[in-house]
Protein backbone atom coordinates (compact mmCIF):
# COMPACT_ATOMS: atom_id res chain seq x y z
CA UNK A 1 0.00 0.00 0.00
CA UNK A 2 1.07 3.56 -0.65
CA UNK A 3 0.54 5.69 2.43
CA UNK A 4 0.57 9.49 2.25
CA UNK A 5 1.47 11.11 5.56
CA UNK A 6 1.40 14.83 6.33
CA UNK A 7 3.29 17.28 8.52
CA UNK A 8 5.69 16.85 6.85
CA UNK A 9 4.23 15.51 3.61
CA UNK A 10 5.83 12.16 2.69
CA UNK A 11 4.95 8.78 1.19
CA UNK A 12 5.77 5.36 2.60
CA UNK A 13 5.05 1.78 1.50
CA UNK A 14 3.36 -0.65 3.88
CA UNK A 15 2.51 -4.26 3.08
CA UNK A 16 -1.18 -5.20 3.10
CA UNK A 17 -3.90 -6.19 3.22
CA UNK A 18 -4.88 -5.06 6.68
CA UNK A 19 -7.58 -3.15 8.52
CA UNK A 20 -7.39 0.59 9.16
CA UNK A 21 -7.08 -0.11 12.88
CA UNK A 22 -4.07 -2.40 12.42
CA UNK A 23 -2.42 0.03 9.98
CA UNK A 24 -2.71 2.86 12.51
CA UNK A 25 -1.42 0.56 15.24
CA UNK A 26 1.62 -0.37 13.11
CA UNK A 27 2.33 3.30 12.49
CA UNK A 28 1.78 4.10 16.18
CA UNK A 29 -0.93 6.63 15.38
CA UNK A 30 -3.88 7.36 17.63
CA UNK A 31 -7.11 6.90 15.59
CA UNK A 32 -8.56 9.92 17.41
CA UNK A 33 -5.89 12.17 15.91
CA UNK A 34 -6.24 11.29 12.20
CA UNK A 35 -8.65 10.75 9.32
CA UNK A 36 -8.01 7.88 6.95
CA UNK A 37 -8.96 8.62 3.36
CA UNK A 38 -9.01 6.18 0.42
CA UNK A 39 -9.70 7.94 -2.87
CA UNK A 40 -12.25 10.58 -1.85
CA UNK A 41 -13.82 8.41 0.83
CA UNK A 42 -13.37 8.46 4.58
CA UNK A 43 -12.95 4.96 5.96
CA UNK A 44 -13.65 3.60 9.44
CA UNK A 45 -11.33 1.58 11.69
CA UNK A 46 -12.79 -1.76 10.67
CA UNK A 47 -12.41 -1.12 6.91
CA UNK A 48 -10.10 -3.54 5.07
CA UNK A 49 -7.33 -2.05 2.92
CA UNK A 50 -6.03 -3.93 -0.14
CA UNK A 51 -2.34 -4.24 -0.83
CA UNK A 52 -2.86 -2.01 -3.89
CA UNK A 53 -4.68 0.77 -2.01
CA UNK A 54 -3.51 4.39 -1.94
CA UNK A 55 -4.24 5.71 1.51
CA UNK A 56 -3.95 9.21 2.95
CA UNK A 57 -3.55 9.50 6.70
CA UNK A 58 -4.43 13.08 7.49
CA UNK A 59 -3.65 14.55 10.92
CA UNK A 60 -6.47 16.54 12.45
CA UNK A 61 -4.71 18.09 15.43
CA UNK A 62 -3.81 21.73 15.13
CA UNK A 63 -1.91 23.65 17.73
CA UNK A 64 -1.39 27.22 18.73
CA UNK A 65 -4.63 27.51 20.66
CA UNK A 66 -4.53 30.61 22.79
Amino acid sequence: MKILLRNPRREIEVSGPCTVASLLHRLELNPESVLVIVGDELVTRDARLDDSASVEIRPVISGGAS
Partner: protein, 297 residues
Protein backbone atom coordinates in the same frame (compact mmCIF):
# COMPACT_ATOMS: atom_id res chain seq x y z
CA UNK B 1 -18.52 6.71 6.71
CA UNK B 2 -17.07 8.24 9.84
CA UNK B 3 -17.02 6.64 13.27
CA UNK B 4 -17.28 8.81 16.38
CA UNK B 5 -16.45 6.74 19.42
CA UNK B 6 -17.79 9.15 22.02
CA UNK B 7 -21.22 8.87 20.43
CA UNK B 8 -20.70 5.13 19.87
CA UNK B 9 -21.93 5.72 16.34
CA UNK B 10 -20.98 5.62 12.69
CA UNK B 11 -22.46 8.18 10.31
CA UNK B 12 -23.01 8.19 6.57
CA UNK B 13 -22.20 11.45 4.79
CA UNK B 14 -25.67 12.96 4.90
CA UNK B 15 -26.35 12.10 8.53
CA UNK B 16 -22.91 13.30 9.56
CA UNK B 17 -23.54 16.71 7.99
CA UNK B 18 -26.90 16.89 9.80
CA UNK B 19 -25.11 15.91 13.04
CA UNK B 20 -22.59 18.77 12.65
CA UNK B 21 -25.30 21.30 11.85
CA UNK B 22 -27.39 20.19 14.85
CA UNK B 23 -24.43 20.39 17.23
CA UNK B 24 -23.74 23.96 16.12
CA UNK B 25 -27.41 24.90 16.28
CA UNK B 26 -27.61 23.45 19.81
CA UNK B 27 -24.45 25.26 20.97
CA UNK B 28 -25.76 28.57 19.66
CA UNK B 29 -29.17 28.02 21.25
CA UNK B 30 -28.01 26.66 24.62
CA UNK B 31 -25.44 29.40 25.17
CA UNK B 32 -27.49 32.22 23.58
CA UNK B 33 -24.60 33.02 21.24
CA UNK B 34 -26.53 34.99 18.62
CA UNK B 35 -29.49 37.37 18.84
CA UNK B 36 -31.89 37.97 15.95
CA UNK B 37 -30.41 40.55 13.56
CA UNK B 38 -26.82 40.10 14.78
CA UNK B 39 -24.04 40.58 12.24
CA UNK B 40 -21.35 37.93 12.71
CA UNK B 41 -17.73 37.99 11.59
CA UNK B 42 -15.89 34.65 11.54
CA UNK B 43 -12.17 34.65 12.29
CA UNK B 44 -10.88 32.73 9.25
CA UNK B 45 -7.41 31.16 9.13
CA UNK B 46 -7.72 28.95 6.06
CA UNK B 47 -7.71 25.86 8.28
CA UNK B 48 -10.41 23.26 8.76
CA UNK B 49 -12.13 24.67 11.82
CA UNK B 50 -12.70 28.24 10.68
CA UNK B 51 -13.78 27.26 7.16
CA UNK B 52 -16.12 24.57 8.50
CA UNK B 53 -17.55 27.08 10.97
CA UNK B 54 -18.15 29.65 8.23
CA UNK B 55 -19.82 26.98 6.10
CA UNK B 56 -22.04 25.81 8.95
CA UNK B 57 -23.12 29.35 9.90
CA UNK B 58 -23.94 30.16 6.26
CA UNK B 59 -25.91 26.89 6.11
CA UNK B 60 -27.86 27.96 9.19
CA UNK B 61 -28.63 31.25 7.36
CA UNK B 62 -26.82 33.65 9.66
CA UNK B 63 -25.63 37.05 8.44
CA UNK B 64 -21.94 36.20 8.44
CA UNK B 65 -18.74 37.50 6.80
CA UNK B 66 -15.14 36.35 7.20
CA UNK B 67 -12.02 38.11 8.46
CA UNK B 68 -8.56 36.78 7.63
CA UNK B 69 -5.53 38.03 9.54
CA UNK B 70 -2.18 37.76 7.74
CA UNK B 71 0.42 36.80 10.34
CA UNK B 72 3.53 37.10 8.18
CA UNK B 73 4.63 33.50 8.77
CA UNK B 74 6.39 33.07 5.41
CA UNK B 75 5.08 30.46 2.98
CA UNK B 76 2.57 29.20 5.55
CA UNK B 77 0.71 32.53 5.63
CA UNK B 78 1.04 32.89 1.84
CA UNK B 79 -0.78 29.58 1.42
CA UNK B 80 -3.37 30.01 4.15
CA UNK B 81 -4.81 33.20 2.67
CA UNK B 82 -5.29 31.40 -0.64
CA UNK B 83 -7.50 28.78 1.03
CA UNK B 84 -9.59 31.49 2.67
CA UNK B 85 -9.96 33.46 -0.58
CA UNK B 86 -10.77 30.36 -2.60
CA UNK B 87 -13.52 29.31 -0.19
CA UNK B 88 -15.07 32.80 -0.08
CA UNK B 89 -14.96 33.49 -3.80
CA UNK B 90 -16.40 30.09 -4.75
CA UNK B 91 -19.43 30.81 -2.57
CA UNK B 92 -19.77 34.54 -3.17
CA UNK B 93 -19.04 35.38 0.49
CA UNK B 94 -17.40 38.53 1.81
CA UNK B 95 -13.86 38.06 3.16
CA UNK B 96 -12.16 40.99 4.88
CA UNK B 97 -8.38 40.91 5.16
CA UNK B 98 -6.02 42.56 7.62
CA UNK B 99 -2.27 42.04 7.32
CA UNK B 100 -0.04 42.49 10.35
CA UNK B 101 2.95 43.56 8.25
CA UNK B 102 1.15 45.83 5.79
CA UNK B 103 -1.39 47.32 8.17
CA UNK B 104 0.35 47.28 11.54
CA UNK B 105 4.05 47.10 10.70
CA UNK B 106 5.15 43.77 12.13
CA UNK B 107 4.91 39.99 11.78
CA UNK B 108 4.39 37.23 14.35
CA UNK B 109 7.91 35.77 13.91
CA UNK B 110 9.39 39.27 14.18
CA UNK B 111 7.37 40.06 17.30
CA UNK B 112 8.30 36.76 18.93
CA UNK B 113 11.97 37.37 18.22
CA UNK B 114 12.08 40.96 19.48
CA UNK B 115 9.95 40.44 22.58
CA UNK B 116 11.13 36.92 23.49
CA UNK B 117 7.46 35.89 23.69
CA UNK B 118 6.44 32.51 22.30
CA UNK B 119 5.22 32.85 18.70
CA UNK B 120 1.84 31.42 19.78
CA UNK B 121 1.60 34.06 22.50
CA UNK B 122 2.28 36.91 20.06
CA UNK B 123 -0.11 35.35 17.54
CA UNK B 124 -2.93 34.89 20.06
CA UNK B 125 -2.58 38.42 21.40
CA UNK B 126 -2.62 39.86 17.86
CA UNK B 127 -5.64 37.80 16.82
CA UNK B 128 -7.68 38.72 19.90
CA UNK B 129 -6.91 42.40 19.42
CA UNK B 130 -7.45 42.61 15.66
CA UNK B 131 -10.64 40.53 15.56
CA UNK B 132 -12.20 42.51 18.38
CA UNK B 133 -11.26 45.97 17.11
CA UNK B 134 -12.17 45.13 13.51
CA UNK B 135 -15.61 43.86 14.57
CA UNK B 136 -16.14 46.88 16.84
CA UNK B 137 -15.11 49.37 14.14
CA UNK B 138 -17.11 47.71 11.33
CA UNK B 139 -20.44 47.24 13.07
CA UNK B 140 -20.32 43.51 13.77
CA UNK B 141 -22.11 42.30 16.90
CA UNK B 142 -20.34 38.97 17.24
CA UNK B 143 -16.89 37.49 16.59
CA UNK B 144 -17.16 33.74 15.98
CA UNK B 145 -14.02 31.62 16.30
CA UNK B 146 -13.38 28.03 15.27
CA UNK B 147 -12.34 26.77 18.70
CA UNK B 148 -13.62 23.22 18.92
CA UNK B 149 -14.12 20.67 21.69
CA UNK B 150 -10.49 19.53 21.52
CA UNK B 151 -9.16 23.09 21.68
CA UNK B 152 -11.32 23.93 24.66
CA UNK B 153 -10.54 20.70 26.52
CA UNK B 154 -6.80 21.27 25.97
CA UNK B 155 -7.00 24.88 27.19
CA UNK B 156 -9.01 23.71 30.21
CA UNK B 157 -6.39 21.09 31.07
CA UNK B 158 -3.67 23.75 30.88
CA UNK B 159 -5.66 26.16 33.03
CA UNK B 160 -6.43 23.48 35.63
CA UNK B 161 -2.81 22.30 35.78
CA UNK B 162 -1.79 25.86 36.70
CA UNK B 163 -5.03 26.78 38.54
CA UNK B 164 -5.35 29.91 36.41
CA UNK B 165 -8.52 31.14 38.10
CA UNK B 166 -8.93 34.22 35.88
CA UNK B 167 -8.59 32.15 32.71
CA UNK B 168 -10.96 29.51 34.12
CA UNK B 169 -13.53 32.24 34.72
CA UNK B 170 -13.21 33.43 31.12
CA UNK B 171 -13.27 29.94 29.63
CA UNK B 172 -16.78 29.72 28.26
CA UNK B 173 -18.40 29.26 24.83
CA UNK B 174 -19.62 32.87 25.07
CA UNK B 175 -17.80 35.93 26.28
CA UNK B 176 -20.51 38.60 26.51
CA UNK B 177 -20.05 42.05 25.07
CA UNK B 178 -18.80 44.77 27.41
CA UNK B 179 -17.47 48.31 26.91
CA UNK B 180 -14.75 47.90 24.26
CA UNK B 181 -15.46 44.19 23.76
CA UNK B 182 -17.61 42.64 21.04
CA UNK B 183 -19.35 39.37 22.02
CA UNK B 184 -17.11 36.38 21.27
CA UNK B 185 -18.61 32.96 20.60
CA UNK B 186 -17.35 29.44 19.93
CA UNK B 187 -20.12 27.57 18.07
CA UNK B 188 -17.94 24.47 17.44
CA UNK B 189 -17.58 23.69 21.13
CA UNK B 190 -19.70 20.53 20.80
CA UNK B 191 -17.66 19.14 17.86
CA UNK B 192 -14.19 17.60 17.93
CA UNK B 193 -11.44 18.53 15.50
CA UNK B 194 -11.60 15.10 13.83
CA UNK B 195 -15.24 15.88 13.06
CA UNK B 196 -14.29 19.25 11.62
CA UNK B 197 -11.68 17.74 9.33
CA UNK B 198 -14.23 15.13 8.23
CA UNK B 199 -16.82 17.85 7.63
CA UNK B 200 -14.43 19.67 5.28
CA UNK B 201 -13.56 16.48 3.38
CA UNK B 202 -17.23 15.56 2.98
CA UNK B 203 -18.26 19.09 1.97
CA UNK B 204 -15.40 19.42 -0.50
CA UNK B 205 -13.83 22.32 1.41
CA UNK B 206 -10.15 22.62 0.55
CA UNK B 207 -8.23 23.71 3.63
CA UNK B 208 -4.66 24.09 4.80
CA UNK B 209 -3.67 20.70 6.21
CA UNK B 210 -0.07 21.62 7.00
CA UNK B 211 0.49 22.73 10.57
CA UNK B 212 1.84 26.17 11.42
CA UNK B 213 5.66 25.81 11.54
CA UNK B 214 5.77 27.99 14.65
CA UNK B 215 3.42 25.71 16.63
CA UNK B 216 5.96 22.88 16.94
CA UNK B 217 6.46 22.05 20.59
CA UNK B 218 3.43 24.14 21.51
CA UNK B 219 2.13 23.28 24.99
CA UNK B 220 -1.43 22.80 23.78
CA UNK B 221 -0.35 20.15 21.27
CA UNK B 222 1.05 18.19 24.20
CA UNK B 223 -2.22 18.55 26.12
CA UNK B 224 -4.15 17.34 23.08
CA UNK B 225 -1.95 14.25 22.79
CA UNK B 226 -2.57 13.42 26.44
CA UNK B 227 -6.32 13.94 26.09
CA UNK B 228 -6.48 11.85 22.91
CA UNK B 229 -4.65 9.01 24.67
CA UNK B 230 -7.34 9.17 27.40
CA UNK B 231 -10.10 9.41 24.79
CA UNK B 232 -8.84 6.31 23.01
CA UNK B 233 -9.06 4.30 26.23
CA UNK B 234 -12.23 5.94 27.46
CA UNK B 235 -14.32 7.53 24.69
CA UNK B 236 -16.19 10.63 25.83
CA UNK B 237 -13.51 11.74 28.30
CA UNK B 238 -12.84 15.06 26.58
CA UNK B 239 -16.52 15.98 26.39
CA UNK B 240 -17.11 14.96 30.02
CA UNK B 241 -14.11 17.00 31.15
CA UNK B 242 -15.17 20.16 29.30
CA UNK B 243 -18.93 20.04 29.78
CA UNK B 244 -18.60 18.92 33.39
CA UNK B 245 -16.49 22.01 34.01
CA UNK B 246 -18.96 24.31 32.24
CA UNK B 247 -21.97 22.87 34.05
CA UNK B 248 -20.56 22.33 37.53
CA UNK B 249 -17.44 24.43 38.08
CA UNK B 250 -17.29 27.45 35.77
CA UNK B 251 -19.62 29.61 37.87
CA UNK B 252 -17.21 29.36 40.80
CA UNK B 253 -14.51 31.12 38.78
CA UNK B 254 -16.72 33.52 36.81
CA UNK B 255 -16.67 36.19 39.55
CA UNK B 256 -12.89 36.51 39.20
CA UNK B 257 -13.28 37.14 35.47
CA UNK B 258 -16.06 39.70 35.98
CA UNK B 259 -13.98 41.57 38.56
CA UNK B 260 -11.01 41.59 36.16
CA UNK B 261 -13.17 43.02 33.36
CA UNK B 262 -14.65 45.69 35.63
CA UNK B 263 -11.15 46.90 36.47
CA UNK B 264 -10.26 47.65 32.83
CA UNK B 265 -9.81 51.11 31.32
CA UNK B 266 -9.32 52.26 27.71
CA UNK B 267 -5.84 52.04 26.16
CA UNK B 268 -4.64 55.58 25.41
CA UNK B 269 -3.31 54.40 22.03
CA UNK B 270 -6.13 52.30 20.56
CA UNK B 271 -9.02 52.52 23.02
CA UNK B 272 -9.09 48.78 23.71
CA UNK B 273 -9.81 47.67 27.29
CA UNK B 274 -6.64 47.15 29.30
CA UNK B 275 -5.38 46.80 32.85
CA UNK B 276 -2.69 49.43 32.29
CA UNK B 277 -2.40 52.75 30.47
CA UNK B 278 -1.31 51.11 27.21
CA UNK B 279 -2.65 47.71 26.17
CA UNK B 280 -0.47 44.63 25.68
CA UNK B 281 -1.06 44.67 21.91
CA UNK B 282 0.10 48.29 21.48
CA UNK B 283 3.19 47.53 23.56
CA UNK B 284 3.90 44.47 21.42
CA UNK B 285 3.36 46.46 18.25
CA UNK B 286 5.69 49.24 19.38
CA UNK B 287 8.53 46.85 20.15
CA UNK B 288 8.00 44.67 17.08
CA UNK B 289 7.49 47.44 14.51
CA UNK B 290 9.98 49.91 15.95
CA UNK B 291 7.38 52.69 15.64
CA UNK B 292 7.13 54.66 18.87
CA UNK B 293 3.76 54.94 20.53
CA UNK B 294 2.11 58.27 19.85
CA UNK B 295 3.48 58.60 16.31
CA UNK B 296 0.29 57.11 14.91
CA UNK B 297 -2.01 59.26 17.05
Amino acid sequence: MIDIKRHNAGFCRDHFLVHCREQVRRAIHDHKMVEPGDRIVVAVSGGKDSLALWDLLVGLEYDVDGLYLGLGIGEYSGESVQFARKYASARGLKLHEVDLQDDLGFTVPGAASVTHRSPCGACGLSKRHVFNTFARDHGYDVVATGHNLDDEAAVLLGNVLRWETGYLGRQHPVLPSAPGFVRKVKPLVRLGEREMAAYCVLQGIDYQVEECPMAEGNRHLGYKEVLNALEERSPGSKASFLFGFLERAHAQFATVAVEEREGLSACIECGSPTTSEICAFCRLRERASGVSLGEGR
